[in-house]
Symmetry: C2
Subunit: 376 residues, 2 copies
């Protein structure tokens, strides 16, 4: 894989028939949002959903850009953080979108990270049974993962993302210059999902990342390349399996353990953010695969070393504070939506870039594995 020397902007097309859309990746897209939207959507009204961290930095620029191109926009700024992904906030967003008289061809615009994207996308999917939806992801995590593929949702007291719809965006604008304002911790958390695409089925990309990760962190063409490869990987999986009946589940590599750890830490971002949970979860998935004699323990070591090198947590003891017991973690896993007919579905691996869906993992194996890891 080589970094290309032409114009830094990249376009990934997601060919989903009448739900097809473009992902644009590059610097300075925020200022051009109006033009990119008017060239693709019929409506000339927009409701922007954002949060109080992002709004002071980018909302005005976006509003100005939209106005220049004749789009009448209103905005709603919500509290930042995972707790905003609630049914109550969904009601607030829907009410605001309806009050703005957004019609089917008008757009809801998500300006923010995964929380805002998932929440605004859910609202866009249910207002008038679906209005247009534009993602302007402002975190690395959302640029490479949640903004692509149409999964939307909120959390419930029963678990994460348990309520939602599939609602594809009509356009994704991944402005890479926005990422310069991310904290190093946020950038690293997003990077865990970038590495995931290598681990799923692209060993060459993982190797490229092992060599080039510092340039990805510094910015420049390697960053755009890494994001474009990630979006393309995700788009390929989504096109093959839009509604997650099979292959799309691979994207959950590291997520079953990760979600359980997020639940166990009460979604407290001081202790653990999503990407960090995924980083630990990916190492656990490789270790668990090794324990089941599916993969070499060396691969788990290699994953751990790379994620550690970039500064990510890689084991449960890296999480500050007390963790609950293995049985509580297992219960969180059982309530996760990837359980079918009582049996556990896990993404396991035969080695770097050789992940697969296993839908018959005995819960007893998971329990003893977790007990062992927690005891260390």
């Amino acid at each position: 894989m080589t970094v290309q020397s032409r114009s830094p902007e990249r376009l990934v097309h997601v060919p989903l028939g009448d739900r097809a859309y473009d992902i644009l990746i590059g610097p300075g897209l925020l200022a051009r949002a109006g033009g990119e939207i008017t060239s693709r959507l019929k409506g000339r009204k927009a409701a922007i959903i954002t949060d109080e961290h992002v709004a002071p930095l980018y909302l005005e620029a976006l509003m100005d850009g939209l106005q220049t191109d004749g789009i009448e926009a209103v905005s709603l700024t919500l509290p930042a953080g995972e707790k905003t992904k609630s049914f109550d906030h969904l009601a607030t967003v829907c009410d605001m979108v309806l009050a703005a008289r957004i019609e089917r061809n008008d757009a809801v615009i998500a300006l923010g990270g995964g929380v805002i994207g998932d929440l605004a996308g859910f609202a866009a999917g249910i207002v008038r049974r679906g209005v247009r939806f534009v993602q302007i992801p402002t975190s690395l995590l959302s640029q490479v993962d949640s903004s692509v593929g149409g999964k939307t949702g909120v959390n419930s007291r029963h678990g994460k993302n348990l309520l939602g719809v599939f609602h594809q965006p009509d356009l994704v604008l991944a402005d890479t210059s926005i990422l310069d304002t991310l904290s190093p911790r946020e950038f690293r958390a997003g990077y865990a999902e970038v590495a995931k695409y290598g681990l799923i089925d692209n060993p060459a990309f993982f190797e490229w990342l092992e060599k080039n990760w510092q340039k990805v962190f510094e910015g420049g063409p390697e960053r755009i390349e890494a994001i474009a490869v990630s979006c393309q990987s995700k788009a390929d999986v989504v096109v093959e399996d839009e509604r997650e009946m099979g292959r799309r589940a691979l994207l959950n590599l590291g997520h079953t353990f990760g979600h359980a750890l997020e639940a166990a830490t009460q979604y407290d971002s001081k202790r653990l953010v999503h990407g960090e949970g995924v980083a630990i979860g990916m190492v656990l998935a490789h270790e668990f695969s090794a324990r089941l004699n599916l993969a070499s323990p060396d691969d788990a070591k290699r994953v751990e070393e790379h994620l550690k090198a970039v500064g990510l947590p890689t084991k449960m003891s890296d999480i500050p504070g007390e963790l609950p017991g293995a049985d509580v973690l297992l219960d969180a896993i059982m309530q996760d939506k990837k359980v079918k007919g009582g049996k556990l579905t896990f993404i396991l691996t035969r080695g770097i870039g050789q992940s697969f869906v296993a839908d018959d993992v005995p819960s007893s194996e998971v329990l003893s594995f977790l007990k062992e890891k927690l005891a260390k």
Copy 2:
């Protein structure tokens, strides 16, 4: 059209690819629900949503029937009436379905009329981004209309059905013996939607109804026939235009005026129920078409006479109590979701069974028409 003399049960298949499903129509289906479900769905758990009018009559029989076939079912009984179609009740239903650990292959079962079907279907569409859904409609209205086609939703303070998803059922069981317990007023209200299928594009069916409506009201094979023809008509439209981009809008014949009247009477069922609004709305749509020189006034008269004969209200002055002015009704119409880019979309007609979608109706014409009708 002749009534067939074979087994009274009818099956209408809705061929929607991987979302295809059957509608069974006939007496005694409630008791057989378990067998019909287990022969079609993989899951063996169900969450029944019903209301306090229907529960005392049919919930126990359904629970018993499901248990016999090995389906573990829990139930939630909500208040009866349009006010139950709210976002708050949606939250309650979703929480109950999640607490019951309903997984993707398990079912949410709607046992009730359109309110319960729309609410439970919405929940089934968003829990885990979609679980299985079985409709057991207990009113004539829901048997011939809302239980088929996958439109789900709740009302908002901004208007009716403004929040929802398209989520097709996996099975519809229209037990015609249940209809014997409906009040005459409820049966008549549902009958308005039956007549609608004739008025949309089936003049022979409308003529058959003019001759046979009394037998439909009495029960027997004519009732099953009328329901089957209605379901088949609706299925045909839905298959052609699942997500209401064009032709499906025809199903809204009478509904634009009807919804405005429902809003104007605050959804107070003592004054007006949905089918009655549709009856008045269909007469208004025919009269408005005549006023625009699209159809003969004789057709409007014929529609009015038939609906009056069965005992339905046919004009705004038939609604007890005060109605708001024409401008308030127009405003309700403008907020209806069938407004695109500010222009009014109406279902108009060139005569009995010759409806069409008009998407450029000037609001000034609607206003003066409403003023004239209200003055009478």
